[in-house]
């Protein structure tokens, strides 16, 4: 029964008549302590309801058993980040780690966490290369603090990313197979790596299938539903297409809303494809064909790799690219083969 008085390792030591070094060894499963002594100590800790103070331990051992996970500012529009975090937490918990969550917006305080040695490592969901981010990577490297980028490879730092090129290539194959002839691609923010890769993959896939590049058109958006809507509105004002591939699901949703407003039948008049397999994709009418990035797997791999770096102080050259799966739903015709 843990009373409210604070217990220290010395109390446990006194209770079972040994030194605090011995108690410490038992807690850390040091082999050089006799089995029966260890048992006695375990029993004492149990009986007294002793829990070691993590701050004292962290200070002394130089390990905090905590990692920071940095997500984009607008993660609320991408609920799939929850899967990433869940995965990281699942691994973290099984290995005795805790995670501090930070939005990219608070990158300065991530930097502080690093300077003050409050975390053992960092998992950073990055999409661009800004000065501040590069400065942070540099600092972590100089301090020898392990970190993993998720999204955009930078310099020789360890990273994990989704195969956006491959995913978009699959979309291209699919669209060509379904005999779509005139395709509009709606881009995301200019420098955004995912959007860039998805367009690149689309071009590759189309070219492989012998699609006439002259029938691929581009519009610009910023990932928001509204921007998808406006891109469609603007484009279709004086152009046509029989399929739209948006760089993400929300813009695809914008296109769908535009079609609904204009009475354009999906998929009869227009095929729509998104990217991300956002939560709502399967519930739209028609359900959205999209590409699903393996967020959970990414989280698992990221955290496992990070722990390996932290605990073995090895610096494996982690450069992982995970495949994304095409999810065919009703927003494109699928009759022909």
């Amino acid at each position: 029964m843990g009373t409210s008085v604070k217990l220290t390792i010395d109390d446990v030591a006194k209770y079972c008549g040994c030194s605090r070094a011995t108690v410490s060894r038992v807690m850390n499963h040091d082999k050089r302590v006799r089995a029966e002594t260890a048992e006695a100590v375990e029993a004492a800790m149990e009986k007294l309801g002793y829990h070691p103070n993590s701050m004292a331990r962290a200070l002394s051992a130089g390990k905090t058993k905590t990692v920071a996970v940095v997500v984009p500012e607008k993660w609320q529009e991408q609920p799939y980040y929850i899967k990433l975090i869940d995965a990281v937490e699942d691994v973290a918990d099984s290995r005795g780690y805790n995670i501090i969550l930070k939005r990219r917006k608070y990158i300065d305080s991530v930097s502080e966490l690093v300077s003050r040695k409050q975390v053992d490592g960092v998992i950073f969901r990055n999409m661009e290369e800004t000065e501040r981010e590069l400065a942070l990577y540099g600092k972590m490297e100089r301090m020898g603090l392990p970190f993993i980028l998720i999204g955009k490879p930078v310099a020789a730092y360890p990273f994990i990313k989704v195969d956006n090129v491959g995913g978009a290539r699959a979309v291209a194959s699919f669209l060509v197979e379904q005999e779509y002839k005139k395709i509009l691609f709606i881009k995301g923010p200019e420098l955004h790596i995912d959007s860039i890769d998805r367009l690149a993959g689309l071009k590759i896939g189309l070219s492989e299938k012998g699609f006439n590049p002259g029938n691929l058109f581009l519009a610009s958006g910023d990932y928001s539903t509204e921007s998808g809507y406006h891109a469609a509105k603007e484009y279709f004002a004086d152009n046509s297409a029989d399929a739209v591939f948006a760089a993400n699901d929300r813009m695809a949703l914008g296109v769908l809303l535009y079609c609904r407003e204009k009475g354009i039948q999906v998929p009869e008049d227009l095929g729509i494809v998104g990217f991300d397999d956002n939560f709502f994709a399967e519930y739209l009418s028609p359900p959205l064909t999209t590409v699903k990035p393996p967020m959970y797997e990414i989280g698992i791999i990221a955290m496992e790799s990070l722990i390996r770096m932290i605990e073995n102080s090895e610096r494996p050259n982690i450069r992982v690219i995970l495949p994304a799966e095409l999810i065919v739903r009703k927003s494109c015709r699928t009759s022909m083969r």
Copy 2:
């Protein structure tokens, strides 16, 4: 320029020829240090690129500047929790705190965080009263560790909740005003406080409007889209209603999917109302009428109150109930008044 060698407070002290106590005082804005000495120390810290070690500080001061935030296991189905977390983080960052995120599933490790004094406080999104939760509350209370419940008031512990009763009451008024005559309410999990309150509020509102209680019917679900679909399917097999109020948006979505399948026109043949204003609600066709809980505000108030408890070691009797707003969209007829 911060080099990679580790700097300690002693290095700073040595550099500006004073003792480490003085440096510590300067960092903590202790007034009993001459202004010019303070300036010299500040300058030295700046020049050397010194950052205090948080673990040492935490051990010595007994404060970790970290709080745990506990969310439901299935928060991925409720992306609005992201707003809650964002709010908590916004306040946390401005006050120099960090947040450790935990799913309810890992309540044991939350308990460990508490025992090991790794957090200064806890924000707990609770919905039921389980043994393990009560045990945790008890432990925190005994240890004098501040915490706030979000959702369900338990004993005399501080809590913040959404006015589910009021929100559902507004739904009732609205439905009666729109002259709906036969209403089906789809419940969530049996002991779930939100679902219970929403049903209670519905009953109160209907009764206030003179609605015949005999025309209110009940079905059971578990908050999932599928359960909403099945509840509708089962109920409508041999019953009728002109409006369905589901305890949450996902079940309302299930009902909508059922209608879509059966060709039931919404809102012409059936009005549908949800609760939560889930991300997808406004994008459904028709967009879903629902009730929006002020998650961001809740997060702000929770974190501000928690910090107050932590820093002033005061124990204000926090019992906050925030109003939820009815969001009228097209899934119910709104023509009549």
